[in-house]
Subunit: 201 residues, 2 copies
Protein backbone atom coordinates (compact mmCIF):
# COMPACT_ATOMS: atom_id res chain seq x y z
CA UNK A 1 0.00 0.00 0.00
CA UNK A 2 1.40 3.42 -0.88
CA UNK A 3 1.87 6.10 1.77
CA UNK A 4 -0.55 9.03 2.03
CA UNK A 5 0.54 12.64 2.44
CA UNK A 6 0.51 13.28 6.19
CA UNK A 7 -0.75 16.69 7.34
CA UNK A 8 -0.09 17.66 10.96
CA UNK A 9 -2.14 20.28 12.76
CA UNK A 10 -0.94 20.98 16.29
CA UNK A 11 -1.58 23.09 19.35
CA UNK A 12 1.32 25.37 20.27
CA UNK A 13 4.10 23.60 22.17
CA UNK A 14 2.66 20.11 21.66
CA UNK A 15 5.78 18.96 19.83
CA UNK A 16 4.01 18.58 16.47
CA UNK A 17 7.06 19.71 14.54
CA UNK A 18 9.38 17.29 16.35
CA UNK A 19 6.90 14.46 15.76
CA UNK A 20 6.71 15.47 12.08
CA UNK A 21 10.51 15.19 11.84
CA UNK A 22 10.48 11.75 13.44
CA UNK A 23 7.78 10.51 11.05
CA UNK A 24 9.55 11.90 7.98
CA UNK A 25 12.78 10.17 9.06
CA UNK A 26 11.04 6.86 9.86
CA UNK A 27 9.19 6.84 6.52
CA UNK A 28 12.04 8.38 4.55
CA UNK A 29 9.85 11.08 2.99
CA UNK A 30 10.32 14.88 2.89
CA UNK A 31 9.11 17.17 5.69
CA UNK A 32 7.73 20.63 4.97
CA UNK A 33 7.37 23.02 7.86
CA UNK A 34 9.43 26.22 7.90
CA UNK A 35 10.81 25.19 4.50
CA UNK A 36 7.47 26.33 3.07
CA UNK A 37 8.23 29.93 4.02
CA UNK A 38 11.32 30.03 1.80
CA UNK A 39 9.71 28.17 -1.11
CA UNK A 40 6.64 30.44 -0.99
CA UNK A 41 8.86 33.52 -0.85
CA UNK A 42 10.86 32.35 -3.88
CA UNK A 43 7.79 31.49 -5.94
CA UNK A 44 5.59 34.44 -5.02
CA UNK A 45 8.03 37.30 -4.74
CA UNK A 46 6.93 38.13 -1.17
CA UNK A 47 9.80 38.54 1.26
CA UNK A 48 10.31 35.51 3.54
CA UNK A 49 9.77 37.69 6.61
CA UNK A 50 6.37 38.76 5.26
CA UNK A 51 5.38 35.15 4.54
CA UNK A 52 6.37 34.11 8.05
CA UNK A 53 4.71 37.05 9.79
CA UNK A 54 1.44 36.65 7.92
CA UNK A 55 1.08 33.14 9.35
CA UNK A 56 1.56 34.31 12.88
CA UNK A 57 -1.00 37.06 12.72
CA UNK A 58 -4.62 36.72 13.64
CA UNK A 59 -6.66 37.51 10.51
CA UNK A 60 -7.61 41.14 10.88
CA UNK A 61 -10.87 41.54 9.08
CA UNK A 62 -13.19 39.99 6.55
CA UNK A 63 -13.36 43.21 4.57
CA UNK A 64 -11.30 43.60 1.45
CA UNK A 65 -9.79 46.96 0.72
CA UNK A 66 -11.31 48.80 -2.19
CA UNK A 67 -8.83 50.70 -4.29
CA UNK A 68 -10.76 52.52 -7.00
CA UNK A 69 -12.63 49.83 -8.90
CA UNK A 70 -10.07 47.14 -8.04
CA UNK A 71 -10.83 44.80 -5.14
CA UNK A 72 -7.60 43.92 -3.42
CA UNK A 73 -7.24 40.91 -1.13
CA UNK A 74 -5.62 41.57 2.25
CA UNK A 75 -1.90 40.78 2.25
CA UNK A 76 -2.44 37.82 4.57
CA UNK A 77 -4.88 36.26 2.07
CA UNK A 78 -2.47 36.83 -0.83
CA UNK A 79 0.33 35.10 1.08
CA UNK A 80 -2.02 32.27 2.07
CA UNK A 81 -3.06 31.58 -1.52
CA UNK A 82 0.54 31.75 -2.74
CA UNK A 83 1.51 29.19 -0.11
CA UNK A 84 -1.51 27.03 -0.92
CA UNK A 85 -0.32 26.85 -4.53
CA UNK A 86 3.12 25.76 -3.31
CA UNK A 87 1.55 23.06 -1.11
CA UNK A 88 -0.54 21.76 -4.04
CA UNK A 89 2.58 21.56 -6.22
CA UNK A 90 4.57 19.71 -3.55
CA UNK A 91 1.69 17.28 -3.01
CA UNK A 92 1.92 16.22 -6.66
CA UNK A 93 5.50 15.04 -6.11
CA UNK A 94 4.50 12.21 -3.74
CA UNK A 95 4.18 11.30 -0.05
CA UNK A 96 5.49 13.89 2.43
CA UNK A 97 4.77 15.35 5.87
CA UNK A 98 3.36 18.89 6.00
CA UNK A 99 3.22 20.63 9.37
CA UNK A 100 0.49 23.27 9.83
CA UNK A 101 -0.38 25.76 7.08
CA UNK A 102 -4.01 24.48 6.80
CA UNK A 103 -2.62 21.77 4.50
CA UNK A 104 -5.43 19.39 5.55
CA UNK A 105 -8.01 21.76 4.11
CA UNK A 106 -5.93 22.83 1.08
CA UNK A 107 -5.33 19.25 -0.06
CA UNK A 108 -8.58 17.65 1.06
CA UNK A 109 -10.09 17.13 -2.38
CA UNK A 110 -6.83 17.06 -4.32
CA UNK A 111 -4.64 14.40 -2.78
CA UNK A 112 -4.75 11.25 -0.64
CA UNK A 113 -4.05 12.68 2.79
CA UNK A 114 -4.00 11.40 6.35
CA UNK A 115 -5.01 14.24 8.64
CA UNK A 116 -3.32 14.29 12.05
CA UNK A 117 -3.75 16.66 14.98
CA UNK A 118 -1.32 16.79 17.93
CA UNK A 119 -2.14 18.33 21.29
CA UNK A 120 -0.90 18.08 24.88
CA UNK A 121 -1.78 19.31 28.38
CA UNK A 122 -1.11 23.03 28.72
CA UNK A 123 1.45 22.46 31.51
CA UNK A 124 3.63 20.33 29.21
CA UNK A 125 3.27 22.83 26.39
CA UNK A 126 4.29 25.70 28.66
CA UNK A 127 7.36 23.71 29.73
CA UNK A 128 8.25 23.07 26.08
CA UNK A 129 7.85 26.77 25.24
CA UNK A 130 10.32 27.56 28.00
CA UNK A 131 12.88 24.77 27.62
CA UNK A 132 12.90 24.00 23.91
CA UNK A 133 11.62 27.08 22.14
CA UNK A 134 13.62 29.29 24.54
CA UNK A 135 10.77 31.73 25.13
CA UNK A 136 11.82 33.88 28.07
CA UNK A 137 9.47 35.10 30.76
CA UNK A 138 9.66 35.98 34.42
CA UNK A 139 6.61 34.23 35.86
CA UNK A 140 5.65 30.57 35.30
CA UNK A 141 2.06 31.62 34.64
CA UNK A 142 3.25 33.77 31.73
CA UNK A 143 4.27 30.65 29.80
CA UNK A 144 0.76 29.26 30.07
CA UNK A 145 -0.67 32.60 28.96
CA UNK A 146 1.77 32.68 26.05
CA UNK A 147 0.84 29.16 24.92
CA UNK A 148 -2.88 29.99 25.09
CA UNK A 149 -2.34 33.21 23.12
CA UNK A 150 -0.45 31.32 20.38
CA UNK A 151 -3.25 28.72 20.24
CA UNK A 152 -5.79 31.47 19.83
CA UNK A 153 -3.88 32.88 16.86
CA UNK A 154 -3.57 29.44 15.24
CA UNK A 155 -7.25 28.76 15.77
CA UNK A 156 -8.25 32.13 14.23
CA UNK A 157 -5.92 31.67 11.27
CA UNK A 158 -7.13 28.12 10.63
CA UNK A 159 -10.82 28.88 11.01
CA UNK A 160 -10.60 32.04 8.90
CA UNK A 161 -9.08 30.18 5.96
CA UNK A 162 -10.72 26.75 6.27
CA UNK A 163 -14.19 27.58 7.65
CA UNK A 164 -14.06 24.61 9.99
CA UNK A 165 -13.34 24.29 13.71
CA UNK A 166 -9.73 23.77 14.74
CA UNK A 167 -8.99 20.66 16.79
CA UNK A 168 -12.41 19.01 16.43
CA UNK A 169 -11.80 15.25 16.29
CA UNK A 170 -14.15 14.49 13.39
CA UNK A 171 -12.10 16.59 10.96
CA UNK A 172 -8.95 14.50 11.45
CA UNK A 173 -8.11 10.83 10.95
CA UNK A 174 -5.93 10.70 14.02
CA UNK A 175 -5.65 13.05 17.03
CA UNK A 176 -3.03 12.31 19.64
CA UNK A 177 -2.01 13.60 23.04
CA UNK A 178 1.77 13.93 22.76
CA UNK A 179 2.03 13.44 26.54
CA UNK A 180 1.83 9.73 25.62
CA UNK A 181 5.44 10.22 24.46
CA UNK A 182 6.78 11.76 21.25
CA UNK A 183 8.26 8.45 20.05
CA UNK A 184 5.10 6.49 20.86
CA UNK A 185 2.99 9.05 19.01
CA UNK A 186 5.35 9.08 16.00
CA UNK A 187 5.26 5.26 15.88
CA UNK A 188 1.45 5.22 15.98
CA UNK A 189 1.25 7.71 13.09
CA UNK A 190 3.78 5.74 11.04
CA UNK A 191 1.83 2.55 11.60
CA UNK A 192 -1.47 4.21 10.65
CA UNK A 193 0.15 5.70 7.52
CA UNK A 194 1.43 2.31 6.41
CA UNK A 195 -2.06 0.83 6.68
CA UNK A 196 -3.99 3.88 5.49
CA UNK A 197 -6.78 2.89 3.07
CA UNK A 198 -6.48 3.85 -0.59
CA UNK A 199 -9.80 5.68 -0.40
CA UNK A 200 -12.05 6.94 2.39
CA UNK A 201 -15.60 7.61 1.30
Amino acid sequence: MSLPIITIGRSFGSGGRIIGEKIATLLNIPLYDKELVQITAEKSGFHATVVEQMQQNKPASLLYSLSGSVIEYPLQDQVYYAQAAVIRDLAKKGPCVIVGRCADSILEHEARIMKVFIHAPVSQRAARAKDEYKITSKKPLDYIKYVRKCDKKRKSYYEYFTHRPWGKAEHYDLCLNSAMGLDVVADIIVRAAKEFPEEIK
Copy 2:
Protein backbone atom coordinates in the same frame (compact mmCIF):
# COMPACT_ATOMS: atom_id res chain seq x y z
CA MET B 1 3.99 -1.31 32.17
CA SER B 2 0.46 -1.96 33.45
CA LEU B 3 -2.56 -1.32 31.25
CA PRO B 4 -4.74 1.74 31.82
CA ILE B 5 -8.53 1.67 31.87
CA ILE B 6 -9.64 2.49 28.33
CA THR B 7 -12.69 4.71 27.95
CA ILE B 8 -14.28 4.92 24.50
CA GLY B 9 -16.47 7.83 23.46
CA ARG B 10 -17.92 7.46 19.98
CA SER B 11 -20.16 9.09 17.43
CA PHE B 12 -23.23 7.04 16.53
CA GLY B 13 -22.54 4.27 14.02
CA SER B 14 -18.76 4.71 14.11
CA GLY B 15 -18.26 1.14 15.29
CA GLY B 16 -16.98 2.16 18.74
CA ARG B 17 -18.63 -0.82 20.43
CA ILE B 18 -17.16 -3.30 17.93
CA ILE B 19 -13.71 -1.71 18.35
CA GLY B 20 -14.15 -1.91 22.15
CA GLU B 21 -14.86 -5.65 21.84
CA LYS B 22 -11.77 -6.19 19.70
CA ILE B 23 -9.56 -4.30 22.18
CA ALA B 24 -10.96 -6.18 25.18
CA THR B 25 -10.30 -9.50 23.40
CA LEU B 26 -6.79 -8.52 22.29
CA LEU B 27 -5.84 -7.31 25.78
CA ASN B 28 -7.81 -10.00 27.60
CA ILE B 29 -9.60 -7.52 29.87
CA PRO B 30 -13.34 -7.05 30.56
CA LEU B 31 -15.56 -4.86 28.36
CA TYR B 32 -18.41 -2.83 29.82
CA ASP B 33 -20.98 -1.42 27.46
CA LYS B 34 -24.59 -2.60 27.69
CA GLU B 35 -23.53 -4.75 30.67
CA LEU B 36 -23.53 -1.53 32.68
CA VAL B 37 -27.29 -1.21 32.28
CA GLN B 38 -27.93 -4.51 34.05
CA ILE B 39 -25.34 -3.92 36.79
CA THR B 40 -26.70 -0.42 37.47
CA ALA B 41 -30.25 -1.76 37.57
CA GLU B 42 -29.28 -4.47 40.07
CA LYS B 43 -27.36 -2.10 42.34
CA SER B 44 -29.71 0.87 42.22
CA GLY B 45 -33.15 -0.72 42.12
CA PHE B 46 -34.08 1.15 38.92
CA HIS B 47 -35.58 -1.07 36.25
CA ALA B 48 -33.11 -1.92 33.43
CA THR B 49 -35.47 -0.35 30.88
CA VAL B 50 -35.40 2.92 32.82
CA VAL B 51 -31.59 2.87 33.03
CA GLU B 52 -31.34 2.27 29.30
CA GLN B 53 -33.92 4.87 28.31
CA MET B 54 -32.42 7.56 30.49
CA GLN B 55 -29.16 7.29 28.54
CA GLN B 56 -30.86 7.70 25.24
CA ASN B 57 -32.78 10.82 26.18
CA LYS B 58 -31.60 14.34 25.70
CA PRO B 59 -31.42 15.96 29.16
CA ALA B 60 -34.71 17.80 29.48
CA SER B 61 -33.97 20.71 31.72
CA LEU B 62 -31.53 22.14 34.20
CA LEU B 63 -34.30 22.75 36.73
CA TYR B 64 -34.78 20.34 39.59
CA SER B 65 -38.29 19.58 40.67
CA LEU B 66 -39.25 21.01 44.03
CA SER B 67 -41.45 18.75 46.09
CA GLY B 68 -42.33 20.55 49.34
CA SER B 69 -39.02 21.36 50.97
CA VAL B 70 -37.23 18.41 49.35
CA ILE B 71 -35.20 19.05 46.21
CA GLU B 72 -35.46 16.04 43.98
CA TYR B 73 -32.97 15.36 41.18
CA PRO B 74 -34.48 14.55 37.79
CA LEU B 75 -34.72 10.80 37.17
CA GLN B 76 -32.05 11.00 34.48
CA ASP B 77 -29.60 12.53 36.97
CA GLN B 78 -30.40 9.88 39.58
CA VAL B 79 -29.74 7.10 37.07
CA TYR B 80 -26.54 8.83 35.92
CA TYR B 81 -25.13 9.04 39.45
CA ALA B 82 -26.10 5.44 40.19
CA GLN B 83 -24.26 4.33 37.06
CA ALA B 84 -21.28 6.57 37.87
CA ALA B 85 -20.96 4.77 41.23
CA VAL B 86 -21.00 1.42 39.40
CA ILE B 87 -18.28 2.64 36.99
CA ARG B 88 -16.11 3.82 39.90
CA ASP B 89 -16.45 0.42 41.59
CA LEU B 90 -15.57 -1.48 38.42
CA ALA B 91 -12.55 0.78 37.84
CA LYS B 92 -11.13 -0.33 41.19
CA LYS B 93 -11.02 -3.94 40.00
CA GLY B 94 -8.37 -3.28 37.34
CA PRO B 95 -7.92 -2.56 33.62
CA CYS B 96 -11.04 -2.76 31.47
CA VAL B 97 -12.70 -1.14 28.45
CA ILE B 98 -15.72 1.09 29.11
CA VAL B 99 -17.80 2.23 26.12
CA GLY B 100 -19.66 5.53 26.47
CA ARG B 101 -21.42 6.52 29.71
CA CYS B 102 -19.21 9.62 30.22
CA ALA B 103 -16.68 7.25 31.83
CA ASP B 104 -13.79 9.54 30.78
CA SER B 105 -15.19 12.33 32.91
CA ILE B 106 -16.37 10.11 35.79
CA LEU B 107 -12.95 8.47 36.22
CA GLU B 108 -10.71 11.37 35.27
CA HIS B 109 -9.38 12.10 38.73
CA GLU B 110 -9.93 8.64 40.19
CA ALA B 111 -8.15 6.17 37.94
CA ARG B 112 -5.40 5.85 35.34
CA ILE B 113 -7.39 6.12 32.15
CA MET B 114 -6.64 6.36 28.45
CA LYS B 115 -9.39 8.40 26.82
CA VAL B 116 -10.33 7.37 23.28
CA PHE B 117 -12.87 8.86 20.87
CA ILE B 118 -14.01 7.07 17.70
CA HIS B 119 -15.71 8.80 14.79
CA ALA B 120 -16.27 8.16 11.06
CA PRO B 121 -17.67 9.89 7.99
CA VAL B 122 -21.45 10.22 8.20
CA SER B 123 -21.96 8.10 5.03
CA GLN B 124 -20.18 5.11 6.64
CA ARG B 125 -22.11 5.59 9.86
CA ALA B 126 -25.42 5.69 8.01
CA ALA B 127 -24.47 2.45 6.22
CA ARG B 128 -23.63 0.82 9.57
CA ALA B 129 -26.95 1.97 11.06
CA LYS B 130 -28.73 0.26 8.17
CA ASP B 131 -26.69 -2.93 7.76
CA GLU B 132 -25.48 -3.77 11.24
CA TYR B 133 -27.86 -2.09 13.65
CA LYS B 134 -30.80 -3.06 11.40
CA ILE B 135 -32.45 0.35 11.62
CA THR B 136 -35.18 0.36 8.97
CA SER B 137 -36.07 3.36 6.87
CA LYS B 138 -37.44 4.04 3.41
CA LYS B 139 -35.15 6.76 2.11
CA PRO B 140 -31.31 6.70 2.15
CA LEU B 141 -31.28 10.27 3.46
CA ASP B 142 -33.27 9.17 6.50
CA TYR B 143 -30.31 7.10 7.73
CA ILE B 144 -28.09 10.15 7.69
CA LYS B 145 -30.74 12.15 9.54
CA TYR B 146 -31.10 9.35 12.08
CA VAL B 147 -27.34 9.19 12.70
CA ARG B 148 -27.16 12.97 13.16
CA LYS B 149 -30.12 12.90 15.56
CA CYS B 150 -28.46 10.19 17.66
CA ASP B 151 -25.20 12.20 17.71
CA LYS B 152 -27.11 15.23 18.92
CA LYS B 153 -28.57 13.26 21.81
CA ARG B 154 -25.17 11.85 22.77
CA LYS B 155 -23.60 15.27 22.63
CA SER B 156 -26.34 16.80 24.81
CA TYR B 157 -26.15 13.97 27.33
CA TYR B 158 -22.35 14.14 27.50
CA GLU B 159 -22.15 17.90 27.75
CA TYR B 160 -24.94 18.11 30.33
CA PHE B 161 -23.17 15.72 32.69
CA THR B 162 -19.51 16.50 32.01
CA HIS B 163 -19.56 20.25 31.25
CA ARG B 164 -17.05 19.79 28.44
CA PRO B 165 -17.43 19.66 24.65
CA TRP B 166 -18.04 16.25 23.10
CA GLY B 167 -15.53 15.15 20.46
CA LYS B 168 -12.99 17.93 20.97
CA ALA B 169 -9.54 16.42 20.40
CA GLU B 170 -7.81 17.99 23.41
CA HIS B 171 -10.05 16.13 25.87
CA TYR B 172 -8.96 12.71 24.63
CA ASP B 173 -5.61 10.92 24.39
CA LEU B 174 -6.45 9.35 21.07
CA CYS B 175 -9.18 10.14 18.51
CA LEU B 176 -9.51 7.91 15.48
CA ASN B 177 -11.46 7.82 12.25
CA SER B 178 -12.75 4.24 12.09
CA ALA B 179 -12.84 4.51 8.28
CA MET B 180 -9.14 3.65 8.57
CA GLY B 181 -10.41 0.13 9.32
CA LEU B 182 -11.82 -1.33 12.56
CA ASP B 183 -8.89 -3.74 12.97
CA VAL B 184 -6.28 -1.07 12.25
CA VAL B 185 -7.92 1.25 14.77
CA ALA B 186 -8.20 -1.49 17.41
CA ASP B 187 -4.50 -2.37 16.89
CA ILE B 188 -3.46 1.28 17.28
CA ILE B 189 -5.41 1.60 20.55
CA VAL B 190 -3.95 -1.65 21.89
CA ARG B 191 -0.45 -0.46 21.06
CA ALA B 192 -1.03 2.92 22.70
CA ALA B 193 -2.49 1.21 25.80
CA LYS B 194 0.58 -1.04 26.16
CA GLU B 195 2.89 1.99 26.09
CA PHE B 196 0.64 4.38 28.01
CA PRO B 197 2.64 6.38 30.58
CA GLU B 198 2.11 5.73 34.27
CA GLU B 199 1.22 9.36 34.81
CA ILE B 200 0.27 12.27 32.59
CA LYS B 201 0.73 15.65 34.21
